[in-house]
């Protein structure tokens, strides 16, 4: 959180709509462990990471639907050997990513 904090502060000051994605479970040779975070804005800004770049695009898409609905979601990403072009982790790891609106409760 510390690494993405300055960006979040800046975005909030600018009135950006922000979603926060957090790796809540990781297994196998996942590139980032539980606790890794990616913050994104409606306007397409990104800070941090939840993988080695493999699933950030998909997380961004999902984050937009979470911002639309206002409902948090858990998304599972695993190995994608069956469909080579599917979104997945080529390293063979598996991660669960919790995606939520970054808002005051």
């Amino acid at each position: 959180m510390r690494d993405i904090l300055p960006d979040i502060r800046e975005w909030r000051a600018a009135g950006e709509e922000i979603a926060l994605a957090t790796v809540v479970k990781a297994s196998g040779s996942a590139p980032r462990q539980a606790g890794a975070k990616l913050a994104v804005t409606r306007t397409g800004k990104m800070s941090g990471s939840v993988s080695g770049g493999c699933v950030e695009g998909a997380v961004f898409e999902k984050a937009m639907t979470v911002l639309d609905s206002g409902r948090p979601e858990v998304v599972h990403y695993g190995i994608s050997d069956e469909l080579a072009w599917d979104v997945g982790l080529s390293c063979g790891g598996q991660i669960d990513v919790f995606i939520e609106p970054f808002e005051d409760q």
């Binding site: 959180m1 510390r2 904090l5 979040i8 502060r9 926060l20 957090t22 790796v23 809540v24 479970k25 462990q33 539980a34 606790g35 409902r71 948090p72 979601e73 858990v74 669960d96 919790f98 939520e100 609106p101 970054f102 808002e103 005051d104 409760q105």
Partner: protein
Amino acid sequence: MSGIHEQLLNAIEQEHGALLATQITGERPGAKLLVLDDGHVAGELFPAELHDQVRADAGRLLNSGEATTRSYQVGDEQIDVYIESHLPPRRMVVVGAVHTAIHLVTFAKEFDCHTTVVDAREMFATRERFPHADELHVGWPDEIMPDLNLGPQTDIVMLAHDPKFEDPAMEVALNSRAGYIGAMGSKSTSADRNERLKARGFSDEQIARIHGPIGLNLGGKTPPEIALSIMAEIVAVRRGKDPRGSQSPVKPAKADQ
């Protein structure tokens, strides 16, 4: 009252320890409980039974530094709660502004460690030698150290190699809650220092906190090599692999280092 996320950001900026629990399944995914190390509590998990269970675990998890998802049994239901502990920033206090200290501060910066260098000798503790240190103090280490917030997140590294500076500083270190204490010096230098500390009333248990001779056995000779071996030992200790343990996969420095 501001939101939980906002309160967490504030806590991190103010260098508080913080525990954030986020419910990821059950009736209210996204519900949060925040517990700070000063006792502040905010937010609510649902149902109340879940809230109480997580609240009961919070104290123990607050200083774990871990991020993990735990399952709680609430009635017939299992509810997953993602819990992350945010520790205050790491600090390193280096006593002795010697050549090795210059390299050690460089390494420590790579670990996002807040670095403080202390030496009574003005000639050594200069900004020219330590442009990269967050804090540089010229003065007696035992007088300066009590003001440095020596908590569990602090590593204290003694490189002055002179009992005149180091013995009083070591007493401050041993009376602190620092997570790591290491001191440069051969096995016999270390043994002599330990005898002096014993004579000053410190117990074997207290003295056993000192890593000396400092560092892992990398076979290094030069200042950057020695600094690396010190940094490596700190990583090992912080990761629960104390090199002095008989089962440890890493080995402490040789006596002649």
